[in-house]
Symmetry: C2
Subunit: 300 residues, 2 copies
């Protein structure tokens, strides 16, 4: 099992579950630290053709979990780096299949869907990516599926929705509020009425490990299946920390086309793999606050 993006927010959460599931795990990443035991690391740049060739030849993996992509907040939605990641991903997939790869799981995004079409179902919700990021991911999905069909590769395409948890980039929703309130700073928020489907990233990591080891093919939503108003999450965090006074609801404007509801239908994932999220949102927020408390307390 070769995992790309293995030091990233999502990829790092797949390692321990994959090891537990009995996979011989090889991880591509750039981090100096690593948490999971029994993982062999390959440090390098997946955008480099030479590195890709070398690692695929060295590992000759039968399974691939491709989580690497460009995800710098504030930049990734329209960054030209999306082109590089699309190119690297299709070439990686070809190299993987031609070196004996049999099963690949790639990480897509809920932003492939038309987010104004209600609860997102893999089979019936139209795809209508609105950013370069989502377009590049969706193009990778379409091309990978067509390639898998002709190359005899088993391919699954996971679509995560909204995430939170340890190691989240500090500019994202949950992390930014938790950090601000822990530091006693004001936390500017939007009106908060948008309903979103939030999953703890550790639950996503477990789900991806289950999916990678299954025979399910095609697009699969990996989410909680539950909608929660963004404002309720902010309030939940503030109440836990006793700092409702620092929440600045309504301070951040919301784009006119912001979809009111983005929630996954998770029937396919649960029916086909039996997976369900282990954490409730309450448990997940508790854990996340504790993680940030230690992270902030640590000397830089």
């Amino acid at each position: 099992m070769l995992v790309t993006g293995a030091s990233g927010f999502i990829g790092r959460q797949t390692l321990a579950p994959l090891v537990s599931a009995g996979f011989d795990v090889h991880a591509i990443g750039h981090a100096a630290e690593h948490d999971a035991e029994g993982v062999r690391w390959h440090r390098g740049d997946l955008l480099s053709p030479d590195f890709r060739r070398a690692v695929i030849e060295a590992v000759a993996p039968t399974h691939l979990l491709h989580a690497a992509w460009t995800l710098t907040p504030g930049r990734y939605l329209s960054s030209a780096d999306n082109l590089d990641w699309l190119a690297a991903s299709v070439l990686l997939l070809r190299q993987f299949a031609e070196q004996g790869g049999r099963r690949a799981l790639c990480v897509g995004t809920c932003f492939e869907y038309d987010l104004h079409a209600g609860v997102c179902d893999e089979a019936t919700t139209p795809c209508k990516p609105a950013t370069l990021y989502a377009t590049a991911k969706h193009s990778l999905y379409r091309v990978s599926e067509a390639y898998a069909g002709s190359a005899g590769l088993s391919l699954a395409w996971a679509r995560p929705f909204f995430l939170y948890g340890p190691h989240e980039h500090p500019r994202r929703l949950v992390s930014s509020i938790v950090r601000a309130l822990l530091l006693g700073e004001r936390a500017p928020c939007s009106h908060g009425r948008q309903v979103r489907d939030f999953l703890h990233v550790s639950d996503l990591g477990e789900a991806l490990a289950v999916l990678a080891g299954s025979e399910v093919t095609g697009a699969v939503n990996v989410a909680s299946g539950l909608g929660v108003a963004v404002g309720d999450i902010a309030l939940g965090i503030a109440r836990r920390l006793g700092r409702e006074d620092l929440l600045d609801i309504g301070a951040v404007p919301v784009p006119a086309d912001d979809p009111p509801l983005v929630v996954a239908d998770v029937t396919r994932m649960t029916d086909r793999t039996g997976w369900r999220a282990r954490r409730s949102l309450d448990q997940g927020l508790d854990e996340t606050i504790e993680w940030w408390r230690s992270a902030i307390a640590k000397p830089a």
Copy 2:
């Protein structure tokens, strides 16, 4: 103006019209011969990152006409090489834009459309690519459009339909029949009732030069706009050569899902650029037969 695939069936037909239109034409190709005057050639492999970087840096083109792709008959529809061409194309486009490129024209395909949805219109006919080739091309279109939007690039996407003319691969429809009958061999054909939109490749070359020099953006059908039964083309060739006896109509089976009609609505191209095909099908077939006659007569 940088032209890729310039020694190919389509690309070579764009060179003279581009020179006539006043462009300073740089051509990427692999052919030893070249017909067009005033063209500077850059020989190399567009799949090589080093070659792409070198040629874009050396030429620093303001315009790009990207016609290169893998098109080996019998293989290209499902070839893994489509992944390499998608990757090379998105990276080329990024390099082009970042080196000062302002306007790009890429060559798509009518096979991006749902070919069972009637006459193909850019705005209303759904896209539903059914092969790896068409999926890769359509993905390039989607990603290029999204990238052009964020990078301030003017991008047009030409969709040719069915083609014939000089230098066509000898295994394709018109070329295979003309060659067989000129050589006195039997020409096995399908039932011939499929209606297709055929354009002489020289007319396509002229159209692409017009489109590259225009400000039209987005997808544009480049075709005759006229439907003709494939059997009537075969018969037209046979009558010209007095060899109707060699046509074996019905000998080649047709796939069950073969679309009965594939014809372009060319309103967008004609309205926006004024272009119209110069040759009728009769003139085009006459020219093509003459070309094959000389090509076959030449010593190998």
